[in-house]
Symmetry: C2
DNA sequence: CCGCAACTGCGAACGATGTTTGCAGTTTAA
DNA sequence: TTAAACTGCAAACATCGTTCGCAGTTGCGG
């Protein structure tokens, strides 16, 4: 449901209650059960609907690694647009047709790579993990800056914060990390 | 609370209700609020209690990469012992003293590495992500094997499953991935 | 030993949640 | 026209986290 996604985008996943969604649709909560079997169903639909934003998949032109990085960038963008997607991605049932299609497209890009299916599977999982991690980077940074914690028992943490505050921007840390990881995962000489 | 962790280990996080924990302690739900301010408090305490299992931290002997891999192995073991920890790790408030101590220990190991604090921060985050991903590998594998999905629209997925089922074990995929990632993240020549 | 203040445990109740039920109202088909 | 099927939805139920208020206990100054 588009209404549910709108609520999640503005107020978070917890605000997506059956009553809230129904109210946005000017109806009662019970009416939703004519179209959904449960709230989990709704969440799955939301996840798959949003996974459709990964389209169109890039054509595998040139280097497969470049193409994969491009797809990972799309994943990161989606996770930045819909922060709640992270909470859903851990649910096994959230793997819907769109997620499978993306998975399939990744495999297609990896076709020229000589590696086992298990390795490719792992690589796609890592790609997803990296995209999520970087999408949440800003949030995580704030989490450590929040007040009220005495850092004196952690000498190295203290030293790190005492140093120059703004580090060199480390441009494209995302891409560098992803590239080195995928290369290490999918080639034999990269160990 | 040890009781709450026991419930989560056997029945999942959702089963950790105030009433369930109280029942295990032969008391009423309201009594818990003499010691906890809310359920979130309880979850934070659980996360930190379990983070203590990462101790003792290895002494930084020899190569820093070896030491980090050892610490990541410990993380993976904890996540395999307590699968629910993953759900908690996304909550900012779950960063307690034990988590900070681990973070500090990582920074200590990284002391000889010449990289910005931002890069090290990112590297620790990735390390955590990789550990979680591999801890959940078996679950994820089952998720794709589950029945009821027609894979015909996904030709590359189908081809992958049609191939030899059991791939070469890919021993130490965990360590290879981690090593290539950390090296790429923390050194300048690894791009 | 008393009396009073502070603390502790907890049954009962409140609001909110996901879900089920039952019943009107409406559409469809014979 | 009429019976069957479908649709929307208010009301009710179970369960959740949390609060309230009251007994029972403890600690302490007189």
């Amino acid at each position: 449901m588009t209404a549910a996604i709108a609520i999640a985008d503005t107020s978070g996943l917890a605000a997506v209650s059956m009553r809230a969604v129904a109210a946005r649709l000017d109806t009662g909560a019970a009416s939703l059960y004519r179209y959904l079997s449960s709230r989990d169903d709704l969440l799955d639909l939301m996840a798959d609907r949003v996974a459709a934003e990964l389209r169109p998949y890039p054509e595998p032109d040139g280097d497969w690694l470049d193409t994969l990085v491009r797809m990972a960038r799309a994943q990161r963008a989606v996770h930045e647009r819909h922060p709640w997607l992270f909470e859903l991605s851990q649910r096994a049932s959230a793997i819907g047709p769109e997620a499978l299609a993306f998975f399939d497209a990744c495999l297609k890009v990896m076709a020229p790579v000589q590696a086992s299916f298990a390795a490719k599977f792992e690589a796609i999982g890592m790609m997803n993990g990296v995209a999520i991690l970087f999408a949440r980077k800003r949030t995580a940074g704030e989490a450590l800056t929040f007040v009220g914690l005495d850092v004196t028992p952690y000498p190295h943490l203290l030293a790190a914060f005492s140093g120059p505050v703004s580090a060199p921007p480390a441009t494209d840390l995302f891409e560098r990390a992803l590239r080195s990881l995928l290369r290490g995962l999918l080639t034999t000489d990269g160990a």
